[in-house]
Symmetry: none
Amino acid sequence: MCPKTKDQFEQIREESREKILNAALKLFGTKGYEHSTIADVMKLAGVSKGLLYHYFANKEDLVKQLVFDLINKTDALLFDHAIIDPNQLLKNIFTQFFQELRNNFEQWTLLANLGMQLGKFDWIRQLANDQMQQALAYIEEILIKIDWPDPCAEAKILVALFDGISFQYLWFKKDYHLDELENILINKYCKQ
Amino acid sequence: MCPKTKDQFEQIREESREKILNAALKLFGTKGYEHSTIADVMKLAGVSKGLLYHYFANKEDLVKQLVFDLINKTDALLFDHAIIDPNQLLKNIFTQFFQELRNNFEQWTLLANLGMQLGKFDWIRQLANDQMQQALAYIEEILIKIDWPDPCAEAKILVALFDGISFQYLWFKKDYHLDELENILINKYCKQ
Amino acid sequence: MCPKTKDQFEQIREESREKILNAALKLFGTKGYEHSTIADVMKLAGVSKGLLYHYFANKEDLVKQLVFDLINKTDALLFDHAIIDPNQLLKNIFTQFFQELRNNFEQWTLLANLGMQLGKFDWIRQLANDQMQQALAYIEEILIKIDWPDPCAEAKILVALFDGISFQYLWFKKDYHLDELENILINKYCKQ
Amino acid sequence: MCPKTKDQFEQIREESREKILNAALKLFGTKGYEHSTIADVMKLAGVSKGLLYHYFANKEDLVKQLVFDLINKTDALLFDHAIIDPNQLLKNIFTQFFQELRNNFEQWTLLANLGMQLGKFDWIRQLANDQMQQALAYIEEILIKIDWPDPCAEAKILVALFDGISFQYLWFKKDYHLDELENILINKYCKQ
DNA sequence: CATGAATGAGCTTTCATTCAT
DNA sequence: AATGAATGAAAGCTCATTCAT
């Protein structure tokens, strides 16, 4: 009836998709995947059930797309290749890590929540494993550069530590000494 | 007057209860709480639906009793008050921790699974927090005794590290370098 | 082991039966038949499930025996054949009716509750019908004796009125003008 | 923009809702509320379980909406404000009452059935009480106009009588002398 | 692109009843 | 006479998903 250009359609598509994904993140990251219903998402997004299923094949597809979107956004973030000084780089990693945790609480909660759904979502654990391996290699490389003793072992410790802190922060949130830990780590691992 | 003595009844009760709890642990710790149905539990336990509800008010009560039983069993385990030498004590903690993780994989998976069910099971996070605080104090005390530098900070790191290792082991299991980490930690923290 | 006479057994039987029936009346007459469970009855009576089923074949049999016991107790009550004066007799009927309603609230509630369970308990409506026919004949007879105009019609009205008052009292209880109605009826129908 | 107009949806909604409510009335008013299952209703209505719960939050909500719909329909019916002559008005009330009872047997059975479910559905007794008070005032007013002796008392009698007749008709139905009572009442209370 | 009516498999839970002792 | 463990059919309800328009 009313002619619309391809771009307009594209924009509308993207807006609706965005609305749905935002709502899904909010809900899945707050109440958890299993305790959030498609009806919840659709209501919060302000779209109809039909439209939701127009964009996403099913609930699992929705969460899959959501996770991949999130990962694409934050992937490059942790490792800033512009920095050359390894000490600076390590400090940057710590800072980025803590900031990321604070800023995107819902997102990390969601990921942990999904990964802990046993049986379902094995792909998420695979993804996490890949990322861990990357981080491991990257951090070991830095530790070598700054002559840290036993860099291979220390890298393993650090990566486990990152997950431990994330996990504890997600569980205990306000009761958790996150800021303190940030200082502790920087003091311990980064020369001033 | 009574054709079955109270003791007999008590024994029967305990046996049935045990069968159900074992089945529940197996399932909840493998497929997760939400993905296991009461029908699954009852079939695996080899009892009827009615009997299950005779002993447990509902699904949540079942998991609650299960968790409390588990915690009571493993509570005293981590900290052996018989050991006096702090170095020995620390080494013992590491060894116990890794052994516990390996031996009771299902149990720890269940606890992590429950704690990650947002909204529901907040009491489990509370329980975990309490245990973390205890561990924190206990480990700091040991670190002081062995003159480890900045023991307060290091205790926080260690406790987070424990959770990180648990978490990663639960997620990556066979792909995970658990044995390696055990050696690394003992080498790093315990004088021979 | 300990020899008991037949009488002793009989007494024990009767006591247990009585306990159960009392509990059943209390519950069925308060929460209704469908909303009371056998477990409720057994707990309130302080006996075991097995014993209950030893005395009563099933839930419906329990309520049947209960109702027949009640009816046997109150049947002869309404019509006092000792009184000869018809005016006195009519007054007595009114008085007895209101007193009965006040004293055995639970019992009448139970009967109304059962009769209103459609499909089930048709025998109770049959019983009620028989009683109504009896009352009709009896009251018409009295009205004839006191020369009340159109006694056949008036008897029908009175019998319906009795049920109407019972019904309204059962539903509205404390809000209901029962005492007032007693006076009204006596004033209207009985010469002083 | 929208392939089905709001009116179309509204019509579909209303039709389905009506189908369900009709089925519910039929069943609840025949077998009683407790003895009718949601599956029964859904089958008789020819809709799916899901749709039923799409329109009604739960079984109690279904019966609530049903009752309120019924009451809204029949509320104004009893009292015809167009009639001025009090004798005519009284006669009209009797006629309407008996007609209503005959025509909407199921509805009145349902109301009585619900009101007799002790504990649950207290709101229905409240509703009934309100209606009784209204009827009381209205009938007294008429009795005053036609100079009936002691109109206040007689109104109370009449209102109880109405309930008594309803109740007996619901219980004894075919065995009950309903037509006879209609004539009796009109003859007794209405001047020709 | 967008709507919401419609479906039904599958879940938790209840409760009358049986039975070995 | 008396116990309470054990059963399972059947109930109410949820929710991902489909589909006609």
